[in-house]
């Protein structure tokens, strides 16, 4: 007896967003990438084809971070001292995107400066042809102080600037609009606040196809189920036609996974936890893949081996 597989018909779909701009488009990237466009729950290929695969971004910093795991310091080694070299090494792992996170302070311990932020951004743009995301250090005034000159100095590149949060989004959105960039809108694991921030940013006149949503997430074992449910709910709302939830979702499983005890600590833990490095990479990979399965469009990772493993999982998920 032939079995008919039931198919959902959704009135809405995820917005298609293009990152980066080539020389012909007013930027310097060697290629642009499109994300989003899905008209079904993740990987339901039999309902609707998935037009664009999820992407992996590597997070790098403008200078060697002091609080990152020694496992990461070991693998990135000397490259961590130079954002251009780090970006090149990141591209070599097969990453689809680079995320440059600006530090709070410079190597001298003084607050980071606009000149240094612009220089680091330009170094990264010069070293790699991949589309770029640039995030501020996460402090309201400093974010604005650094991101505005970065946006101006890279006009037309279609960078993704972040992070817009409800307490600080106007300046970043305004400079992104004025200089042809995109933004990431982050809300703290809450569907209502995610949607509200999208409304606020859209109200400023930012075109919807230049907004990525970061619903915030937790690592495996540290609240991932809440993040997962929020993302699932946003995806369902988007498919049901709610325009203010249709932005592609970007999440930071690398940041989340590398702050867990399981990844951070190599000594004084039960032997049954197994090999430290393998465990840490698994933690990052499993967190990322779970989030991809609930609708993440970009996952931001830190370890090169995780990039490979997540790519392999994406390949399998994309197979029709």
């Amino acid at each position: 007896m032939p079995i008919e597989i039931p198919k959902d018909k959704w009135p809405g779909k995820i917005r298609t967003v293009t990152l980066g701009a080539t020389a012909a488009e007013g930027g310097t990237r060697s290629k642009t990438v499109a994300i989003g466009g899905e008209a079904s729950l993740p990987f339901m290929h039999f309902e609707n084809p998935t037009p664009n695969p999820p992407l992996v971004a590597i997070e790098i910093k403008d200078r060697k971070p002091e609080d990152w795991s020694p496992l990461l310091a070991e693998v990135w080694s000397e490259a961590m001292n130079d954002p251009g070299a780090w970006a090149k090494a990141a591209e070599a792992t097969g990453a689809d995107l680079i995320l440059l996170a600006l530090s709070v302070t410079g190597a001298d311990g003084k607050p980071n400066t606009p000149d240094a932020a612009v220089a680091a951004t330009k170094a990264v743009l010069g070293a790699t042809g991949l589309p770029l995301l640039v995030y501020g250090p996460g402090q309201v005034e400093l974010d604005n102080e650094l991101l505005v000159p970065v946006a101006e100095a890279t006009r037309g590149e279609r960078l993704v600037l972040g992070i817009c949060e409800d307490k600080n989004y106007r300046t970043i959105v305004a400079t992104a609009m004025a200089n042809g960039h995109l933004v990431t809108a982050r809300a703290p694991m809450d569907v209502n606040l995610s949607k509200q921030l999208n409304i606020l940013i859209s109200d400023m006149g930012m075109p919807a196809d230049r907004i990525l949503m970061d619903p915030t997430t937790g690592a495996l074992g540290y609240g991932i189920e809440y993040g997962y449910s929020v993302m699932e709910r946003l995806r369902l709302a988007a498919l049901q036609g709610d325009a203010m939830t249709q932005g592609p979702m970007i999440v930071t499983p690398g940041f989340e996974a590398w702050k867990t005890k399981e990844s951070k600590v190599g000594e004084g833990v039960p032997e049954s936890w197994g090999d430290w490095k393998e465990r840490a990479i698994n933690w990052e990979t499993v967190t990322a893949v779970a989030l991809i399965e609930t609708g993440a469009t970009i996952v931001v990772l830190r370890h090169p081996e995780s990039v490979k493993r997540v790519h392999r999982a994406i390949e399998e998920l994309m197979a029709v």
Binding site: N192, K195, Q196, I199, D242
Partner: protein, 307 residues
């Protein structure tokens, strides 16, 4: 609609200040005005008053009963405070607000109500919190609340079940479920228990300018499932219009027709439809958007009306 007037509530700064000053006139005036505006009962929520309940509760009861004849609803978590108030009641049969299905409260409060011949509001909330699904809330009523009343031989006509309204801002999935709980509860027992809800809870944590609209759209839905009693603000004129329109099936204005239509659709276990509304009218468009969030069709956001 039997409105229990909610305005004597310690959350209000004016009430707080008047209580500090023992401003009897303030409370008398607020009680009288609520009754004049249509309240059939006056709720008194001054908090637990752990330290001075023995003085405050009799004082407020005497003050308010001096000027109105309607029943008072004694709204506190302090059981001793409840008793102090009950001892002072001289006029109408009061309401104890409230017990829940949590063992300790369910042990004491119904006995107190019985001793003083008071009605009691019982919340469908157990120790594990408030369940989402309508059926689970009905199960708490049938499985825990009503058996306790039977056990102590409490008159069923004095039991009022409150299936608990939660806010659309953060507990959106509860909103349609509550409607179903209100619809089912009267059929859960014979004689049917009375139902009451706290209407304004639906718009907790919503910006003040949007609260009345959300309240009255939800009210139309609740009237569709048969709600006849609620704790609400009797001064809300537009809310009172909605009550009058639906109770009298008034179809004389577009707005009256729209609110009646919402109640009818919900009554028929149907959903209000796009074509029930004249969306070129901004007021009706706002009502339509509000229906969508209250039925959990569209995710609530503070700016939902601007979307």
């Amino acid at each position: 609609m039997y409105i229990i007037g909610e305005n004597i509530h310690i959350i209000s700064d004016k009430v707080k200040e008047a209580l500090t000053n023992r401003d009897r006139e303030f409370f008398m005036d607020l009680a009288v005005r609520q009754v004049e505006a249509g309240a059939k009962c006056v709720d008194i929520n001054l908090g637990p008053r752990k330290k001075d309940f023995a003085e405050v509760f009799p004082w407020i009861v005497e003050s308010i009963e001096a000027v109105v004849d309607v029943p008072l609803s004694i709204d506190t978590t302090n059981v001793d405070g409840m008793e102090a108030a009950l001892k002072s009641i001289k006029k109408a049969q009061p309401i104890l607000n409230s017990t829940s299905a949590e063992p300790e409260r369910l042990e004491k409060i119904p006995l107190l109500a019985k001793k003083y011949g008071a009605k009691v509001i019982a919340l469908t909330m157990g120790s594990a919190g408030i369940p989402v699904a309508a059926e689970e809330r009905v199960n708490i009523a049938v499985g825990t609340l009503i058996p306790r009343m039977l056990e102590i031989d409490f008159p069923m006509e004095d039991l009022i079940i409150d299936p608990l309204v939660l806010t659309v801002s953060g507990c959106q999935e509860y909103c349609p479920q509550l409607l179903e709980a209100v619809r089912i509860l009267p059929y859960s027992w014979d004689p049917a228990p009375k139902i009451s809800i706290g209407l304004s809870n639906v718009s907790n944590a919503v910006p003040p300018e949007n609260r009345p609209l959300i309240n009255r759209v939800y009210l139309a839905m609740l009237m569709g499932v048969g709600l006849q009693m609620m704790i609400a603000n009797p001064f809300d004129k537009e809310q009172n219009d909605v009550i009058r329109w639906i109770e009298s099936k008034d179809q004389s204005t577009p707005l009256a027709r729209v609110y009646n239509k919402i109640a009818e659709r919900i009554e028929a276990s149907d959903e209000p439809q796009y074509e029930d509304f004249d969306l070129s009218d901004p007021e009706q468009a706002a009502i339509w958007k509000t229906v969508q969030i209250l039925l959990n069709k569209v995710i609530y956001a503070e700016g939902y009306l601007n979307q």
